[in-house]
Symmetry: C2
Subunit: 435 residues, 2 copies
């Protein structure tokens, strides 16, 4: 089926550029060889007779990329959004994340927990992901196997944590690097669309020796890398104390070629860049910021300077950061991107000027970030331009309707603000129907 040529018919909406939605009412979208071959208002003669799946009345949008999600944290989502006022940001991490991740040493537990995650992910608009696993090689390999079986395109990380972890979730530097090597050898070419991604959890979790070893593995296997950067003010202070030789946090990755110079790098959060850090980020053309608006608002009450990153040409995609957020639903993350953009503006730029020029993130920009912005990590994905991976999501928005005739533009606005898994009726990833 996956190499078959077929046609979807419906109201097609995507964002080839961030500045506006491109909308084709009652249009045709042709899949050939797992990619988009044609998009238009009418069906050319040459496609007559090909299989047509008629979604008239429904919306067809590109699949979305969740480029920062902690797979093992799905189970405890919704817990710990309130913590003791005297706690530091690490309290949540030590109370919820690490004890739960410890359980993934047990493959039986990993099996049922990852099954639940993937079954719920299938019902969402997400088609591509960058996932953090745990330090456990076997559980991470199991996660990759399940993602492949479900049809997702994904980069998956076995974590490295050779310091500052909790009892029962520890690895020595040697173990960490040895397991990572074995995992890379086993999975680098195992699947077509599910690939390993080097994942030092973040600087406080990895010794210099570990980072040096990972740098060697990156060069040897030419795999991309992901980590966390400048998420919280006290985290940044901690990094400075752990690595007094660096001037700013991002240098701690850049010195090991993990900031998007040699291989693609996804850095989650990037909420508090200094001017120096920001300047370096703009020079790294293989760097993607994974903007996690709901998580940032929950954990810090503040938001990343996304408008600045976009203006400087830094790649930006969106992440749920499950379970720093509570939802897999990328529509909600798009809506939260707009909302976080307003918080950034109100708290950083407006001051007391009631008529200050607004620099919000627009709805088409936020949609772009969730689709083509994050999708660009895979090359051509997240848009219906010719040659792009055929990732499509079909939406029945009947339940969101009111008693007014709404345009397609208004319908996608409402989908972004209101839709959940009940509205998703079909999903295609790389040409293959997975839902």
């Amino acid at each position: 089926m996956s190499n078959e040529k077929y046609i979807l018919k419906g109201t097609i909406i995507h964002t080839p550029t961030p500045s506006a939605f491109e909308i084709i009412e009652d249009g045709y979208l042709v899949c050939s060889n797992q990619t988009v071959e044609y998009l238009g208002e009418s069906l050319p003669e040459k496609y007559q007779g090909e299989r047509l799946i008629d979604y008239t009345g429904k919306l067809i949008i590109p699949g979305m990329a969740d480029i920062h999600i902690h797979a093992p944290q799905y189970g405890f989502r919704g817990l710990g959004m309130e913590l003791d006022p005297d706690s530091t940001w690490t309290t949540w991490f030590e109370t919820y994340s690490l004890p739960e991740e410890r359980r993934y040493a047990d493959l039986e537990y990993a099996d049922k927990a990852y099954d639940k995650l993937i079954s719920d992910l299938l019902k969402t608009s997400t088609t591509r992901l960058c996932l953090f696993g745990t330090i456990h090689r076997e559980a991470t390999e199991l996660l990759m196997k399940k993602l492949d079986a479900a049809g997702f395109a994904a980069f998956v990380g076995k974590l490295n944590m050779d310091r500052n972890s909790v009892e029962g979730l520890e690895e020595t530097t040697e173990e960490s690097l040895e397991e990572t090597r074995q995992w890379l050898e086993e999975t680098a070419t195992l699947y077509d669309h599910v690939k390993p991604m080097i994942t030092p959890r973040y600087i406080p979790s990895c010794t210099d020796a570990c980072m040096e070893g990972l740098e060697r593995l990156i060069r040897e296997f030419r795999v991309p890398v992901q980590s966390h950067l400048s998420e919280a003010l006290d985290e940044i202070e901690w990094v400075k104390s752990l690595k007094p030789e660096i001037d700013f946090y991002a240098q701690g990755y850049d010195m090991y070629h993990m900031l998007g110079d040699e291989v693609p790098s996804v850095m989650a959060h990037c909420v508090y860049p200094t001017d120096e850090e920001f300047a370096l980020m703009t020079q790294r053309k293989n760097l993607w910021v994974a903007h996690c608006p709901q998580s940032n608002l929950h954990s810090t009450g503040f938001a990343a300077p996304i408008r600045r990153y976009l203006q400087a040409g830094v790649h930006v995609g969106l992440g749920s950061d499950m379970a720093g957020s509570n939802v897999l639903n990328m529509f909600r993350i798009i809506a939260d991107t707009m909302l976080a953009g307003k918080v950034y503006w109100a708290c950083k730029e407006r001051g007391d000027d009631p008529y200050a020029k607004k620099t919000y993130i627009t709805i088409s920009e936020a949609f772009y970030l969730a689709t083509k912005g994050g999708g660009s990590l895979w090359g051509n994905a997240g848009s219906f331009e010719e040659g792009f991976a055929f990732d499509a999501v079909v939406i029945d928005d009947t339940s969101l309707a009111d008693f007014n005739k709404r345009t397609a533009r208004q319908r996608i606005e409402r989908v972004i603000q209101l839709a959940d898994d009940r509205n998703i009726v079909a999903k295609y990833i790389g040409g293959k129907q997975v839902l």
Copy 2:
């Protein structure tokens, strides 16, 4: 049925005080004469033989009060969360709210639109409401009739707008007051639990003559009042220019005894109080702030100083402010109260101090605001203390479970962050089962 004595069994959670949840696992809640007669871990001898409804395994919580909701705006929820950067806050209002409200001159339209709203409200945890209608007396009376028939307890307002409206949604001062008088005469004693509430939309919508006339009606009918206060910086500037004789916005209501001195008053938003305004608010013991966190974040990117109001003893309840927000779901509004509390802290109090003392709104405080905080407007409502109105919501949280045993405290945390109408299986208002 409504005067019958009966017993609910289940895991019962409420907040008699904001500081903590009170949790009774496998407890008993007795309804008698529409109020709570008993709550406890075991069932006293005298209730043996009374009808028992067994919700073992489910959570039973107090009904919630949505004390600021625009009933006619439900239809267009989700639209206009992004507007032109050059627009002022009134643009949204003039693009979406006013044109939609105009349609409620047509009773046939009002009939189907209000049916849809009430049918969806029934599925939520909301049991009590303060609603804004439109300027139309007949549509407002229809809304009241439908709310009564569905079993809700509600205050409902026919709006007054004798200036600064749009074509087709206008009334003269005389019409405004005359229609309001007729409406009060017709509905003041018509229903047991659905009552009229004087509703000048806000100062820019009402001339001095209108406000004076409303003041006379309030004194004559002894009805409560609701309006908007200090929602946006440019709105505040506008009020100042319209009423140069006042020193701050709240005075514009207080001079007409609409700020909670003689009758209860609900003021929505209260995001930007000056020190003088704040001081006056603390003196008005019949004043409730309707905190609308999602709406405030959407419209201003900022949040009201709820911690300050609570410390000063000002009553605070929660509002969806539909369609300034997109949801009727008060669980989401509770979660957004916590989130907005973090935004306020991060942007106003923390500054650059990474270890600054946190003054977030806790989860039990936010839950209290949604239940007893807003419920206190009706006297004893929103809690399971003896003598309180029997408003109860039964929740099946099976779909939110993971593979760990969770405490009742953890279950309510997850419900607040994750639950929607799919999790609500029964609802009681004033002793009557409505769902």
